[in-house]
Amino acid sequence: MSEKKPLQAPSLLPAARAGVGLRHPHVLHFLQERPRTAFLEVHSENYMSDGGPRRRALFDLAEHYPISLHGVGLSLGSAEGLDAAHLGRLKGLLADYRPALVSEHLSWSVESGAYLNDLLPLPYTEEALAVVCRNVDAAQEALGRPLLVENPSSYLTYAASSLSEPEFLGELVRRTGCGLLLDVNNVYVSARNQGFDAAAYLAALPTGAVGEIHLAGHTRRRFGAEELLIDDHGSRVAEAVWALYRQAVALCGPRPTLIEWDSAIPEASVLLAEARKADVILAAADPTVQGHVA
């Protein structure tokens, strides 16, 4: 496989500030009140229709906010390769909405054409690396721009893994020129579930490739005397994750940061308040900002 020069963290956003995930209950609020936030991120698949009010609303919002398209369905880790129809629809969305950021996940969700609607874990092997590189190459070729690839939260590991996740991501960046979407909550969740050191994980990443950061809440599920952290995006960002975020910003520099919330969705103001918290941390790390953020 030919080596490609890692691209500068691909972002078309004017500044590294915090945005929020746009969720259906908040659409009217954003259309009518237009609260200040750096960008809106949506799940690409929710807009892959021929028409309808959802697409209309996003067109209206795209006139006022930079849009980030965050995909959950491309299945970059599928050994059977990408679904050409899905990739075509994603390309259509890029043309329609001209997103500032385009991201996907380091995971798989399609097998024999069945879509399993979860971000399933990959073994970190040379074979899996070759599969993901091939799929990322194909996607970037079709879309005509680099993808940001997100580290997953995970609940299990494979005996066959020969690379650590940061090593795997580092090789992926080196070979495909993709960027990274660093989900700090996922790092925290996976570190706790698998027993690795989250700070060491961050230090091992190719931090220059990080083009976006995600923050979200998680929950705990008990299994007898043991527990797993579950990445449910259903609460405020945990204190320990904010601490890890400060470390990530120190390592990567200020990067566009997103507050994700997918279950038990509160009022938009709660998400926006979390985004302002991230903004304070970003501004403190930004040498071009003197003093404070509004």
């Binding site: 021929d50 609607n117 092997t125 609940y155 590991t157 043991e226 797993l228």
Partner: protein, 255 residues
């Protein structure tokens, strides 16, 4: 090898009786507990997708019954594409054949109506033809016209009063079981941003079916009168123009 691993993993997610894929690490927690987190996510999230697409069917069936049926459907018929707004097309027919629901044959029909609503919601947008489009046309030109229905238009022809059942569920009421059995035809369409549905008289339904099949207004009118001798064709046409049923009207050049 990755291909085989993913095949086994997918089977283990959808079929609780399937063996776990080899090579999953068991440590303080068993591999079974760990893959169980994914299994729950996959099935519960897809059941949620169906619950969102079929809210009145769920209301009518009871949430617990609905989720049980949906979980079986999800395992047997996982989505074939990642855009889940298109997931559920096969659910109404499956529900209609679902043995535990055989005593409620109208449930699958209600689901069929809801799927039509779902399709209408996401169909291509189109500007409806207004009454003025026919202004200036000679009366004798009307029979030669052909009408294209909106891309969102769906015609439902059911043995059960699905519109009435949907309305009862929508109003939060309990659906009498069994409901009175009578056929009902319904037009679902989205002339702007919101989905509308309209119960149709037999003549109206026959008219729209014929127009949708590409027939001229004259041929469609014959079909309408055959279905309902006393129907008022002019009123029906006017009603559809006011409502915004058509995306285009084609004037056939007289020979």
């Amino acid at each position: 090898m990755l291909r085989e691993l993913q095949r086994g993993f997918a089977q283990a997610l959808l079929d609780t009786g399937a063996p776990l894929p080899l090579g999953l690490v068991s440590d303080r927690l068993s591999a079974a507990d760990r893959i169980g987190v994914y299994r729950n996510n996959v099935v519960a999230s897809l059941v949620d997708v169906l619950a969102a697409a079929f809210p009145m069917t769920m209301h009518a069936a009871g949430a617990e019954n609905f989720r049980f049926a949906a979980s079986l459907f999800v395992r047997a018929h996982p989505p074939r594409q990642a855009r889940l707004l298109a997931y559920g097309a096969e659910f109404p027919a499956w529900l209609g054949r679902f043995r535990p629901a055989q005593d409620r044959p109208w449930l699958g029909e209600l689901a069929r109506l809801e799927w039509a609503r779902n399709e209408a919601l996401f169909a291509a947008d189109a500007e409806p033809v207004k009454v003025e489009a026919l202004a200036g046309l000679a009366a004798e030109a009307i029979p030669t016209l052909r009408f294209t229905l909106l891309p969102s238009a769906r015609l439902i022809d059911s043995d059960w009063p699905v519109h009435a059942l949907w309305q009862q569920a929508q109003d939060g009421g309990r659906i009498a079981d069994p409901p009175e059995r009578r056929a009902q035809q319904v037009l679902v369409l989205r002339p702007g941003l919101s989905v509308k549905q309209l119960p149709l008289e037999p003549g109206d339904a026959a008219l729209l079916e014929a127009l949708h099949a590409g027939e001229t207004f004259a041929t469609a009118a014959e079909a309408a009168l055959a279905a309902e001798a006393q129907c008022d064709l002019q009123q029906l046409l006017l009603g559809h123009l006011v409502r915004g049923t058509f995306a285009a009207v084609h004037v056939t050049t007289p020979r």
